[in-house]
Symmetry: C2
């Protein structure tokens, strides 16, 4: 166990009661303060089977209004969840600003289980640890308080508790086969747990070992740590988080100014022929993707009126409707805004074998949110790396990631805006906001250039679609999608 | 097959192409009109295996912007879904106002499958048909366009198609075991399908039989019917829906005026003793519920400051946190408002064996939405029956439903409001809106009286909690919860 975090001795009964009383009252008071401060609090209970994770959570939440917390029991992932990246089901559970989520078991348990069952190789374990550390850091960097408790009991205590639970038919179901296995292989488990705790003990989300030999004493430790954690986090509210250096291999991208738009055209007849052939090809690949369970994520960003919609349609036109979904991304709804900005994208990830197309994306963070001041400078500067990490996660999961910037020049946009304005059937496509955004063209261009430079990674590069001739852009998009999918299918053959 | 709805002869090639062209163009135009009209369109494709449901959907959606539709393939329910009522996973899929959902297989397939596998008894089938008819009617009554297509092919065509699909490894997965079984038992299946089509052929959501012997011809029929359906629905937009007579057995409820509040008190010492005993008892019952997989739904409505929060806490304090969830209900978010008003409650239903507590509920429809004019008179008048039907569905599923009205008199409310106002620690609990609602006390009382009379069904009766003494109300609530759970557990023993 982490030597520096072992709890003290269990206090005398009287002192214990007194401290417990004080900690409970303080927690009760703090729930409203975290609401005011919009502090999201994620409390992870990990530890031995029968160490009392559930019952400790039960005791703690008695001091919190039921409207302010959720408890999630993370049993084995469902089939739906297994078809998504490892972190998917944990990301799904993160609390809204001002609320608590208590997790009974989590990403530690899932990982150590897989190590013990020898499902994870050493290399996979190392990768997993990286994912987890990034996940926790992204949460704390984005203002989450993440508290990690490991409930520690000795083998003999575990044996005694399991025997007691098993003796009553109403509680026997609480002892799982895996708990029993743990008990039989206590030493081996302890080694695996110890290593995991060491590997994921970060300064922003350290582990706290809870001596769980006594119920009240366990409650006291957890409540005091929770109270202390909240108080510290609230003092830190105006935090400025270090911007990490990029560690991912980048592909060099041109500046938008340097992108040659002229001459990127296609003849009508050739367009029709190519479109038909490419769509047929893509349709066939979709079948193969499905069978091999390869997930595909296609993202669209670009200037207003650049032709994103029509481009997407030429992709989806080739696909089996049972195997894809288009996600139009508008400004976040309240429950989305109240969480990590990537939450609404994590929760929209496709199942493996499926294709998700995002019509506008998480890159809103470094474009509209940056320019309209919807997030702080520290937030959007940090986002390049956070997004690279997010896409790394998707890529490691096995996803093909294809990112398009649909590009036109300012003159073309004006012509299309005017056309829309003058054409009653197209008027719905143009709003005052489009005109306002147009005024900020230069600022957007700077932001887009920076985004292209900083987030075009080898595993998720940007592709520029020259779209003054929309047909040219559609054919190019189809070609790129086909090529990228083929590359991956060849690799996983 | 339904005789009156059999499609005509397949037209000559030239006419077919011409009509197809016209129908596609019209559908393309209509997508913006449905957006303006906020018309939600649910298109259900049922029919024989290998009849081309998926590919017909694929052809139709080529005429619709990918941002305006979703396609859902309803394969066999997942384990998560099986732990919820039958309609849960279909309700989850209903479109937002102004959008399409296309379902590839749905509640017909699931039902006829269960009939063919002899899982459903005659009585269960009859009940299922009732559920489905109510579900579809509730959708159409609430402004949904529900189009139901049955894709018909003859046995020899089915055989030929399946053979073709099976001959290519990239398409072979599309032929399921169940498709093969169907083909072998074509006649038997046809009988079951026919009966289902007859049983669920309603004037507001009739069946359309599509002759699926030819792909383009199938597309033409479906597209023309879709276009026609949308055009008719848009003309009906200012619809007034008949208010159905109540068919559910009701429990007689007192008027709020008649509820005796005086003397409903409990001594501190007795309270403590009772609370402890009742909570212990409830905790034990929770274990039994879990093992027997009985779902419990507890709902709270009541006057502001009546003590709902504290009451809920005394219930949850007794429960294992892994087995319950509290849902605080505020005004709906945009994506919730854009759907049937019960959608956000359907999607929050507990798994069997779990307890869901709703802090405010679907009864908002006949209280705040009625009084503030957030819905039409026709809407809230219809809601009593819609809610009774919803709760009937839950009750038939096996849920224990416990509905509380937490009651105080006007004077008590004023005292509590004033106390909150004057107490800095409680000020967050009182808002201007509370004072405004208080001014409408009489109108609310009328609405509540009507609600209690019309929705206190035998299977989901209201319970009034006299809460001038909050402790009295808590003990009463615990007693009722225990009693109702025990009744059900005795029954399912």
């Amino acid at each position: 166990m982490l030597k520096n975090r072992i709890p003290g001795e269990i206090p005398e009964k009287e002192e214990l009661e007194m401290r417990l009383d004080r900690a409970r009252t303080r927690l009760y008071e703090l729930q409203m303060r975290i609401k005011e401060h919009k502090l999201p609090v994620l409390v992870l209970f990990e530890g031995w089977g029968a160490s009392g994770k559930g019952s400790t959570i039960g005791r703690i939440i008695k001091n919190i209004d039921p409207r302010f917390f959720k408890v999630a029991t993370m049993s084995a992932p469902s089939e739906e969840e297994l078809r998504r990246p490892f972190l998917y089901r944990y990301m799904k559970q993160i609390p809204e600003a001002g609320k608590f989520t208590f997790l009974d078991g989590g990403w530690m348990e899932e990982t150590t289980d897989e190590v013990l069952k020898e499902i994870l190789s050493e290399a996979e374990y190392a990768k997993r640890i990286d994912s987890i550390k990034r996940f926790e850091r992204q949460l704390t960097d984005n203002g989450y308080l993440v508290l990690k408790f490991f409930m520690q009991i000795e083998k003999k205590d575990q044996t005694a508790r399991m025997e007691r639970l098993l003796s009553d038919k109403d509680t026997a179901w609480r002892v799982s086969e895996s708990d029993q296995w743990q008990n039989e292989h206590y030493k081996k488990c302890r080694k695996v747990f110890d290593r995991y705790l060491q590997d994921t003990n970060m300064s922003t989300s350290p582990w706290y070992i809870i001596d769980a030999s006594d119920k009240k004493w366990a409650e006291l430790q957890a409540t005091e740590l929770l109270v202390e954690g909240i108080e510290i986090a609230m003092q830190n509210s105006a935090h400025s988080v270090p911007i990490l250096q990029n560690v991912f291999p980048l592909v060099k991208m041109p500046k938008l100014q340097e992108v040659e738009l002229e001459g990127k055209v296609i003849e009508e007849e050739e367009y029709r022929k190519e479109l038909k052939e490419l769509q047929k090809k893509l349709g066939e690949l979709h079948n193969r993707l499905y069978r091999r369970r390869v997930p595909v994520i296609i993202t669209y960003e670009g200037w207003d009126a650049a032709g994103k919609g029509g481009n997407i349609k030429r992709i989806t036109g080739a696909l089996d409707p049972r195997g894809f979904e288009v996600h139009p991304i508008a400004s976040p709804e309240p429950h989305e805004k109240a969480r990590h900005y990537l939450w609404r994208f994590w929760t929209r990830l496709p199942k493996d074998g499926h294709i998700a197309i995002f019509d506008r994306t998480w890159y809103g963070r470094v474009m509209v949110e940056r320019l309209e001041g919807f997030c702080s400078e520290n937030d959007w500067k940090r986002a390049y790396n956070e997004i690279n990490e997010f896409e790394k996660e998707l890529s490691d999961w096995g996803a093909v990631i294809i990112k398009f910037w649909v590009h036109i020049d300012k003159g073309t946009q004006l012509a299309r805006f005017t056309d829309r304005q003058n054409n009653p059937e197209k008027q719905w496509k143009i709003t005052d906001e489009d005109w306002r955004n147009r005024e900020k063209w230069d600022a957007y261009e700077t932001a887009v250039d920076e985004m292209l430079q900083k987030t075009s990674t080898v595993y998720a590069p940007w592709h520029i679609l020259e779209s003054v001739d929309k047909k040219y852009a559609r054919i190019k998009a189809l070609r790129i999608v086909i090529e990228e999918i083929e590359k991956t299918l060849d690799r996983v053959k």
